[in-house]
Symmetry: C2
């Protein structure tokens, strides 16, 4: 199994990319990694580690696409960029299972759309990150920002892809819910009303509407919504967690007494913090393109890079792309054709 | 100043309504309260307290509107219900500044719309609750569930009403933001693009787009969005706070050692919890109708009932309705007429 890694985009630079790749191949003996980026800088970083050199390939690419560029223009014009080169290798090399990039979300999604292409029958690929649940599991939110204005059939496709995604992650019968303003069937706006009627006919485990309050309850594996709502959902959760963490820290460091109290539960407070940690979850997956594409956080550390590589590897091994294709072919034989725009 | 209170709808019944009203008039000597509900039950509850009997009036109403009824039908048919009677008194009695109900949100909003009526120029009244901020203040979210499908001009009206609302709560120059997927001007979906262009022309302190992550940062006083997004925003925050509270409790009660640790910071942990407490914020306000209408939580305790009454009193004293009318008249002289539908 070969995974391509775009070396540009992580805030911490080549250092975390190199370390993440080395850790990944040292842990998985059947894994090869192709790193696309500044070859010299990567060599310097890689020289710090011991690893099987036959399983890391370097492809030089000096050009970079940043957050400040218009994605479509950048993808078309910067042919020597690490992102464009990585996408082209991922598309053309059959031995490549998938790709990881921590670069500009807009550029990565646009690039995947243009260079790798959509699965037949998918109108709009969708970004699917994972958030932690109360029960120690994970739930994915599809779409989480790739599609601002959605039609009901997009949400139908998100539901189907989300179900296949969590299945490829090892959940046998993923529980899929539609994000709504309450859990009754008739709740919502025009979009969710029609999406509800469509999703309930899919051969997936659709459990109905869900109020955002229960996103992390552990009762759901896939949350379906348009990209605007998905962004609001996930960013509200992040913001609240950050704020409460900060307030808690202020609380426990208020006085000598509370500091002593905190000492008694240092380990547990740390464990509490790590349950909230996004780094270990392994990036967001861009569902609906023809190869596995994992978008890592810009703030990724080496652990997060490794986790993203393993996510790509697992999903490729479990044939996520073909499982989406098969499910689509089975349920939307004619619609699949129609909805390509 | 006279405030009408619908005695039906609080989960804890007449007990919390009676106590909340007594506490309110004992605290504010210029306040009179009209309680509409089961007179006998209210008398029994009121008999438990010492208060100035000349300032609490009872209006008997035995019929109730529950959460399970279709709001429009219930409002039209149940003329003897506490809600309908309370709305009629609020509308017709000029000495009444506003009204409080903890009943079914749908029925209260529909009832206010039909019985009290909209301010001229307001197409859709909006529900505006308060959420706590990191800096110890409050921020309002307009709309938070009254309007599922919105046009850009609705959001424009929400921005204007939200600004007037926070001004009436004592904020001199409320900072109004549009909820979006990032803070750059061009971010968002079709609705927010057009709403942005409209809101920026209003004579309010519009500070631009805001990502949901910063909702509780304390940098904003008014967050503008459609009712679907507002519900997702607020329920995500509630859900995350609930989950983290539960996880924290599990953490601090894990072992004898952590329990000892928690003892050292009992007071501070309690303070932390109270900062997250919704009961003291005084309900959500239904902006855009011709009288002040405060929707209390169904789970309100006496403190929350009192806070809701004071919210109604303050907003009436600060002439919220006429300040919205004036601002609308100044900025939307012709549009005000057009948008009434």
């Amino acid at each position: 199994m070969r995974i391509v890694v775009d070396a540009f985009g992580a805030d911490k630079g080549e250092a975390v990319i190199a370390q993440g790749c080395v850790d990944a191949i040292n842990e998985a003996k059947d894994l090869e990694v192709v790193i696309v980026g500044d070859e010299q800088a990567l060599k310097t970083e890689l020289a710090k580690y011991k690893y099987d050199e036959a399983r890391i390939f370097l492809v030089d690419a000096k050009e970079k696409i940043t957050n400040n560029e218009v994605p479509t223009l950048a993808i078309r014009q910067k042919k020597e960029s690490s992102l464009v080169k990585a996408l082209e290798i991922t598309k053309s090399d059959d031995s490549v299972g998938g790709m990881v990039s921590c670069g500009s979300t807009g550029a990565v999604l646009t690039g995947a759309f243009l260079k790798i292409g959509r699965i037949k029958g998918i109108t709009r690929p969708a970004l699917a990150p994972l958030i932690p649940t109360q029960s120690g599991g994970k739930v994915t939110v599809v779409d989480c920002g790739a599609n601002m204005d959605c039609r009901p059939e997009f949400l139908e496709q998100f539901a189907l892809m989300g179900s296949c995604y969590m299945q490829a992650r090892g959940i046998e019968n993923p529980r899929v819910a539609l994000v709504n303003v309450g859990d009754e069937d008739k709740k919502g706006n025009e979009l969710t009303h029609e999406a509800f009627e469509r999703i309930k006919k899919l051969p997936i485990n659709f459990v109905g509407n869900m109020e955002a309050r229960y996103a992390m309850s552990g009762k759901y594996d896939v949350l379906v919504c348009d990209g605007f709502v998905g962004n609001v959902l996930i960013k509200s959760i992040e913001g609240t967690a950050m704020m409460m963490g900060k307030m808690l820290k202020q609380t426990v460091t208020k006085s000598l007494k509370t500091k002593i109290g905190a000492l008694f539960m240092k380990k547990e407070l740390k464990g509490f913090k790590s349950q909230m940690d996004y780094q270990a979850t392994g990036g967001a997956v861009f569902l609906g393109v023809k190869k596995i594409l994992v978008k890592g956080h810009g703030s990724s550390n080496a652990l997060a890079v490794k986790a993203s590589i393993f996510t790509a590897k697992t999903l490729a091994e479990n044939n996520l792309v073909s499982s989406i294709e098969e499910k689509l072919a089975a349920v939307l034989p004619s619609e699949g054709e129609k909805t390509v725009d």
